[in-house]
C-alpha cells in the first residue's frame, strides 16, 4: 500500500518538475529577445567589430576577387553561420569596395563574370540575376536591390571588414 502511494507521489513529483522546466523554458524564450536588446554581452559579437580578412591592400586590384573569412559568434548553442564572403576591388577612383555576394533576390551567391554572356557584371547562377560592377542591380533581372556593401577599414595595410549594409533598390 505505502509502496503504491509512494510511486504515485514520485510520478507526481516528476510531473511537477517537468512542467516546471517547461514553464521555465517558455519564460526564457519570451524574455530572451528583450535581454538581447539590453544586455551588451548577449548581443551578436559581430556588430560593429571589424575583422581582419587576410588580404593586403596592395593585392587589391580593379578586378573583383572573392575573399572568405569567418566571424566568431557568441550565440554558441544555436547553429551560427560563421563564414562570410565578399567581392573586393578598387573602383575607378581608387577606393576600395567590398560587396556582399548574397543575391538580393533569394540569397544565392553571385560571381564576378559568372556568366560568359555578361562580362563586367556580377551574375547569380540561380535565376540569372545581374549586377553592375558597383553592385547596382540590372533592371529586368530578378533582384530588386543592389548588393549590400561591407563597411571597411584599412589598418597597417590590411583590409578589415565589418557588417554588410543594405542599399535601396534601383
Amino acid at each position: 500500500m505505502s509502496d503504491k502511494k509512494q510511486q504515485v507521489s514520485r510520478r507526481q513529483f516528476l510531473n511537477y518538475t517537468l512542467t516546471g522546466v517547461g514553464g521555465f523554458m517558455a519564460a526564457g524564450l519570451l524574455v530572451s529577445p528583450l535581454r538581447m536588446a539590453i544586455d551588451p554581452v548577449l548581443k551578436e559579437s559581430s556588430s560593429g567589430d571589424l575583422v581582419n580578412v587576410g588580404l593586403s591592400v596592395d593585392d587589391i586590384t580593379s578586378e573583383p576577387q572573392r575573399v572568405d573569412w569567418t566571424v566568431e559568434q557568441v550565440d554558441g548553442w544555436y547553429e551560427s553561420e560563421p563564414s562570410r564572403s565578399a567581392w573586393v576591388f578598387k573602383n575607378d577612383n581608387g577606393d576600395i569596395v567590398a560587396l556582399s555576394p548574397i543575391c538580393t533576390h533569394l540569397g544565392c551567391v553571385v560571381s564576378w563574370e559568372g556568366s560568359e554572356d555578361y562580362p563586367n557584371q556580377f551574375f547569380c547562377p540561380c535565376h540569372d540575376g545581374r549586377y553592375e560592377k558597383d553592385g547596382t542591380n540590372v533592371p529586368g533581372t530578378p533582384p530588386l536591390a543592389p548588393l549590400p556593401y561591407y563597411e571597411h577599414e584599412v589598418r597597417d595595410g590590411i583590409l578589415f571588414l565589418g557588417n554588410p549594409i543594405s542599399r535601396e533598390g534601383a
Binding site: G107, V109, C126
Partner: protein
C-alpha cells in the same frame, strides 16, 4: 534554404523559384569500432559540405534533413524508404532531386533512385578545421555547383 520555419515561410511565397532539393545520405553505426572514427568524420565533412552548397544556391535549392540509416542495413529497404521521401517532396513542384553521399553502396542502386546521386570520393580523416580540408571542400562545392547548374 533549409527545412526550418523561417526558410519555409519564404519558400511558400516564392515557390516558383525554388525547384531543387538536396538530401544528404549518411550511414550511422556504433557497432564497428574500426570504422567508427572514419564514418563519423565523413558525417562531419558532409555536414559542412551540404551547408556550403546550401549557402551557394540557397535561393533555388532546399537542403533536406539528413537521411540516416544503419550502416549494415539492407540497402533495398533504404532505397524504398528514400523514394518515399521523394514522393512526399514531389507533392510540391520540385523538379530536381539530388542525393549527396560518401557511401559508395548507393551507386549500385543509382538507377532505382528517384533522383540524381552525387557520390563524393573518400576523404581521409583529419582536422575538420584544417586549411587544406576547407579549401578542398570549397573546390568541391564549386564543382558540384556547376554540376547542379547543368540540370537547370
Amino acid at each position: 534554404m533549409k527545412w526550418r520555419s523561417k526558410d519555409l515561410k519564404q519558400y511558400l511565397q516564392a515557390k516558383e523559384y525554388i525547384d531543387t532539393i538536396m538530401v544528404p545520405l549518411v550511414p550511422f553505426h556504433l557497432s564497428n569500432e574500426q570504422d567508427m572514427e572514419k564514418d563519423s568524420f565523413r558525417n562531419e565533412v558532409l555536414t559542412v559540405f551540404s551547408n556550403e552548397m546550401e549557402k551557394e544556391l540557397s535561393g533555388r535549392m532546399m537542403l533536406m534533413p539528413v537521411y540516416n540509416y544503419i550502416k549494415s542495413t539492407d540497402m533495398n529497404v533504404e532505397k524504398d524508404r528514400l523514394n518515399d521521401w521523394v514522393e512526399d517532396i514531389k507533392v510540391q513542384p520540385f523538379k530536381h532531386i539530388f542525393f549527396i553521399t560518401f557511401d559508395s553502396k548507393w551507386r549500385k542502386l543509382e538507377q532505382e533512385l528517384d533522383g540524381t546521386l552525387i557520390w563524393l570520393p573518400t576523404v581521409q580523416t583529419g582536422d575538420i578545421l584544417s586549411k587544406e580540408l576547407q579549401s578542398m571542400i570549397r573546390e568541391q562545392v564549386k564543382e558540384i555547383t556547376e554540376f547542379i547548374r547543368s540540370y537547370w
